[in-house]
Amino acid sequence: MEIIQFSRQKEAVVFTIFFPVILLVIFGSVFKDTIAPGVTFSQYFVAGMIASGLVNTGFQNIAINIPLERDMGAIKRLRGTPLPITSYFIGKAISVFASMTVQVLILLIIGAAFFGLNMPTEPSKWLTFAWLLILGTASSTALGVAFSAVPKNGRGASAIVSPVVIILQFFSGVFFVFTQLPGWMQQVAAIFPLKWLTQGMRSVFLPDTFAAQEVAASWESGRTALILLVWLVAGLFLAVKTFRWENK
C-alpha cells in the first residue's frame, strides 16, 4: 500500500527517483576529469548518488511525509485499528526499498549508457552492494521515522528536514571527493551514516586500488556495517519512543 501511495504521487516519484539521475547528468557532464587512474568522476559520483538516494528516499521522504500524514489524520486512523505500529514502519521500509531498487537501476543504466560507468564484475562486490542497500534502507527509514517527531506539522516539515540532508550530502563527500574536503568536515561527516554509505558504495563501484586513497587507506567495510547498525538501532529506539499519531 505504501508503494501504491508513493507511485500515485507523481511529483514525489519524479523528484525522488529522477533527481539523482538529473544530478548525475549535470555533474557527469560538467566534471569530465578522472580523479585516479581509471576512475572518472562519474564513477565516483554514482556511488555517492546511490548512497544519498538512500538518505533522500528513506530519511528525507519519510521525515517529511509522516508529519503530513499526521496532518491528514492517516496515522490517527491507523492507531484506531488493530494494526501494530511496527507493520506501518515495515511498510515504509519496503516502500523505500522498492523505490531504491528502481532508482538504482535507472542510475546504473544511464550511467553505463552515457557516462562510461563500469559495472563491478565480482560477485562479492554485488554482495556488498546488497547488504549496503538493505542496511541503508533500514537505518535511513528508522532515522526518518525518528526525525519525523521533530517537525510540528506537515507544512514546516520540508523546511526542517531538507537542509539537514543537503548539508550532510556536502559533508559526506557525495558531490566532491571526500578526501579533498577540510579535515573538520570529514570528522563531522564520519559521525553520520551517509559518509559510510557513500564509502561503502565506492567500495562497490571503484576498483580496489582506489581504497588506498580513502581516509583510512581501506574501504573499512566492517566499520561501515557496524556504524550503520548502530544508527539503525538508535533510529529504531528513537522512532518507537518519539512516534506521535497526531501533530502538536
Binding site: 500500500m1 501504491i4 501511495q5 490517527k76 488493530p82 494494526l83
Partner: protein, 283 residues
C-alpha cells in the same frame, strides 16, 4: 450488557478542563448520542473511550476493557471496535476498494469488502480515487473503514458535519441498518434532528459535564411541558398554552361547531429544550 461504563471521568489540557467528571453507561445494541456545543468535551470523551487519550482520573470500561491498555491486549480490543473520527483527509491516492480491502486485512474477522462498500452506498465509486470523492462520499468511506472490522461498538464523531440534507438522510439509514445488525453506536453530534432521528438515548453535555441523560422525547421534561394550541380566530391568529391541550381543542371545537381553522398543537422542539438546557437563547 453494559458496553461502556464511565465513572468520574476527568481530562484537562493545561488549565482548560475539557471533561469535568462524566458518568455514562451505554447498553449493548443502543444508539447513544452525545449532544453538545463545540468545545463541550464530546470529542475528548470519545477519544478517551476509543483509546486515543488517557484520562486524568476516573474509571473507564469499554467492552469490559480499559482503553488505555497498550500492547497486544489493546490490539485485540481494537478488533471489536470501529472508530470514525472527525475530518480525515488521508488516503487520497488510493482507490475506494483498495483502501477498504487494505483495512480489512488489519482485523481478525472483517466483513466482506464489497458488502461494506455497498452498505455505505459507494459501489459505483469503488474504483475512484479517494480524493475524487465528494465530502459526503468521503465521510461514508470513513464509516466503511470504521465498520470493515465488524465491530461490536462503533464510535462516530460528528459524522454528518457538512452534509447536504439528502446525504444526511442516506447516512442515517446506514446507521439504522448498523443498529439493526446489532452494533452498539456512540455518536456525537451538534445536530439536534440527528440525535432525535437516530438516538435511543441522548446525553446533553456542556462545559465538560453531563446535564441530562434521557430519550430524545423525554429530554428536559419536554413531553410534560405545556403545549401550545393555536388557531385562526376572529381577530387573527390566536394561541393558548395549556397542560391539557385536548380540553382546549374540545372547547374550541364546540365553539366553532366542528372544524377549527388552522389548528396547530406544538410542544417545545428538542432544539428549544436543548438551548434552554445549555443556557442559550432560543430566539
Amino acid at each position: 450488557m453494559k458496553v461502556i461504563e464511565v465513572k468520574g471521568l476527568v481530562k484537562s489540557y493545561g488549565d482548560f478542563t475539557a471533561v469535568a467528571g462524566i458518568d455514562l453507561t451505554i447498553e449493548a445494541g443502543e444508539i447513544f448520542a452525545l449532544l453538545g456545543p463545540n468545545g463541550a468535551g464530546k470529542t475528548t470523551t470519545v477519544e478517551i473511550l476509543a483509546g486515543f487519550r488517557k484520562s486524568d482520573s476516573g474509571s473507564v470500561s469499554v467492552l469490559g476493557f480499559d482503553p488505555a491498555t497498550k500492547g497486544d491486549a489493546g490490539r485485540k480490543w481494537r478488533n471489536q471496535i470501529g472508530i470514525v473520527l472527525q475530518t480525515a483527509s488521508d488516503a487520497g491516492s488510493f482507490k475506494v476498494r483498495e483502501i477498504v480491502k487494505h483495512f480489512s486485512a488489519f482485523y481478525a474477522n472483517p466483513r466482506d469488502v464489497d458488502q461494506v462498500i455497498e452498505a455505505v452506498g459507494l459501489t459505483e465509486k469503488r474504483n475512484s480515487l479517494v480524493l475524487e470523492l465528494s465530502g459526503g462520499q468521503r465521510r461514508r468511506l470513513d464509516v466503511a473503514l470504521g465498520i470493515i472490522g465488524n465491530p461490536e461498538l462503533l464510535f462516530l464523531d460528528e459524522p454528518t458535519t457538512g452534509f447536504d440534507p439528502e446525504a444526511r438522510r442516506a447516512f442515517w439509514s446506514l446507521i439504522r441498518d448498523l443498529k439493526a445488525g446489532g452494533t452498539t453506536i456512540l455518536l456525537t453530534t451538534h445536530y439536534l434532528d440527528e440525535a432525535e432521528e437516530l438516538a435511543d438515548r441522548v446525553a446533553v453535555i456542556a462545559a465538560g459535564k453531563i446535564i441530562e441523560v434521557s430519550t430524545p422525547a423525554l429530554l428536559g421534561g419536554r413531553s410534560t411541558s405545556k403545549a401550545t394550541v393555536s388557531w385562526l380566530g376572529k381577530s387573527g391568529l390566536e394561541s393558548e398554552e395549556s397542560d391539557n391541550p385536548t380540553a382546549v381543542v374540545t372547547r374550541l371545537a364546540a365553539q366553532f361547531g366542528g372544524e377549527i381553522p388552522e389548528l396547530v398543537i406544538t410542544r417545545p422542539t428538542l432544539e428549544d429544550t436543548y438551548l434552554k438546557m445549555i443556557g442559550g437563547q432560543s430566539e
